[in-house]
Every structure is written in structure tokens, then in C-alpha cells.
Amino acid sequence: MNTLNRRDFGVAVVAALLLPATSARADDMEVHIDNFVFQPPELKIKVGTTVTWTNRDDIPHTVVSAGKFRSKTLDTDDKFSFTFTNAGDYKYFCSLHPHMTGMIKVE
């Protein structure tokens, strides 16, 4: 096994503490559901980004991308988060109101 000298170990610890926290904050994205619309309807994000949907309607909604992710039913102010670990285009919709559609483009 490799061993770290004291200086490298310190650098590694600092990186582990700082990098994930700062990069996650910078990349996290939000989608709001207002008036039966995903807003914004299309997001472009980088791999590793977490997207959080918040339902702000008085009616429950879901966030479903066939074969990729599926939220529980979101009542008013409920949230659903998904972290995109693979590049690609993710079309999604509300399974209760399928005319509601959105897109996440992951690069």
C-alpha cells in the first residue's frame, strides 16, 4: 500500500472537505412546478448535478422519466431530487397530468 506523507495527507483532507461541498452548491439546480408547468421546461447541466423539483401547485404531481427515475406523488411543497451521473437527454413528465413535460440535458 502507498502511504501518504504528512503534507500530502493534509492536502487530500482539505480537498475532500472542500471540493464536494463547493461544487455541489454551484451545480445544484431547481425546477419548480407552478400552474401545471415545469419551470424551466429545459435544463442543461453537467454530469453529477443534482436537480430538485418542488411542487408549488394545490394539486399533486409526479416527476417521471421512463426507466430513469420516478418520484413519489408530490403534494403541495413536496420535493424530489435526482443526481444525474450519466450524460444524455432525459425527457420526463407528470404521470398524473401527462401533458406536463420537461427535459434535462446532461453533458
Binding site: 400552474n35 401547485d57 394545490d58 399533486p60 409526479t62 413519489k72 403534494d75 404521470s95 401527462p98 401533458h99
Partner: protein
Amino acid sequence: MSGHDHGDDGVSRRKVLECMTWAGTGVLWTVTGGVPRSLGIIDSAQAATAAAPGMTFLQISDSHVGFDKPANPNALGTLEEAVNKINAMPAKPSFMIHTGDITHLSKVAEFDNAERIISQTKLDVHYVPGEHDFIDEEVKLYRERYGRGTKGAGWYSFDAGGVHFIGLVNVVDLKGGGLGNLGAEQLAWLEDDLRGKSKSTPVVLFAHIPLWTVYPEWGWGTEDGGRALEYVKGFGSVTVLNGHIHQVMQKVEGNVTFHTARSTAFPQPAPGAAPSPGPMKVEDARLRSMLGVASVNFKQNEQRLAIIDTPLQG
């Protein structure tokens, strides 16, 4: 939009718009000579109903038990008011149909509360599910309660008073960007169910989401609803009863009469009249004044519907 289809002896445009924004309590149907006629929301119109011969049945819809948002903080209470009106009717209807969204979030307590109130009518109730009745984790609560003896996701048919009733499910397997959905299996069953039936048999189709295209921008229609309507095309009298849009909407096409019932919970806006189809908030006092009597009358030879609305309060 159907507001222009009522004929010149029917309803003014203003009246139609009014009726479309009312949250009612239930629609009373009577079958005379095999033709269903809606005599409107349970109240004073019942005297006429009591005297009418033939079979009478009720339609209630969209009770959304559990809904407690500003548009109506007590949806269970307004369901109970509807039930009280049903119980006060001078002539007991033969049975009732409920066209879905019994509950708001498919919770056990919501189903239990709905059952506790609706059972006070002491009527047989034939249910079809709305999308709000299928959102429990395991999607089993509706089927445990109302799915017995049904096919697939809960479709079935029965005969009453010489009329053939068909309950359809158009709220499952919905596709992104699409509308309500019946699916190939249910359509095949429907075709088979109607095979061999005399074309003079009056047919009533009921489902949650309108089987006709009311307003696709808000998802108010059924993707393959046209297929179902093809199967009933040759029948002399077809009535299609739906809910989902929380307002009265109707049209007549040939032998087919389409009608949507009000909700017992909250009104929704007329198509395109608001940014979204969500619950329409009105003043408390106005909500009650919006509850009213709606008479929908189908005259067989004229083949058109007339709506007459009378508010319960000035």
C-alpha cells in the same frame, strides 16, 4: 367547447358559462324509454324526478376527499352536503355512479372517510377510478375496495333498467405528452362486451377523464377515446358520462350525448380561462352560491341537450 351546441331554445352563452363554473353536488339521471335524461343537481328538481317514470340513477364525481386547500378547505363536508341532498330526495334512485377522484391522495383515511359518507346514501355505487385514486405506493387501495369483479385496472359492465352500463378506466399507463388512455387490452374487452348486443340497447359509457377531446392543452381528453366511440357508433342511444374537469360540459354528436359532471369538492376554470386547470379559488360565500341545480335534458327526437341551471342561493 360545447356551449354553442345546445340549440336556439336552449341556453344563452352567459348561462352556459355560468353553469360551467359551478361546483355542484351531483347529477340526477333518469332513464325514460331507454334514454337517459339528466334532471340536474339534486334539489328542487327532484319533485319532477319523483313523478318521472322509468329508472333513475345519480352521478357524483371528483369528491377529492382529503383536499383542504383554499379552494375548499373541507371537501369532505361538501361531499356530505351532497349526500344529505341525495337522502332528502323524495324518490330513491336505483343506484349511483361515481366517476372518479374519490380521494385526493389515495390515503387509507381518505378512502375510509369517503366510504363512510357515501354509504349513507344506502345506494349501490358503481365506481371508476380517477388518477387521484391510484397514487398510493402499491396502487392497491382502490382495487381492494372497488376492484372486485372488474377486469384489468378496474373496468366492467352491468345492465340495469334495460340500459347497458360500461365503466372504463382511462387514468393508467399515461404517456408523456399524451392524454387519458384506455389501452389495447381494455378496447379489445369493450369490443367484445358490445358484441351481440342489440343496437337498440341504450348504452352508457362512464369514465373519469372525458372520452372526447375537451381541451388537450390541459390534458382534457382521451388519447384512444375515439376507438371506444367507434364501437358504440351503431347504437341508437349512447350517453358518455365523465368527470375530471369539475364543470358541466356537454355536446351531442349524432346518437352520442357527452356530458361531464361537476365536482363535489371544488370548481376548475373553463378551458383556457386561467393559467392552469388547478382548483379555482372563489370567495367562501360564492362557493356556496355556485352550488346549484343543473338539469340536462335529452330529447330523443331533437338529439340535443338543454342545460337549465338554478343556483341554490341568490
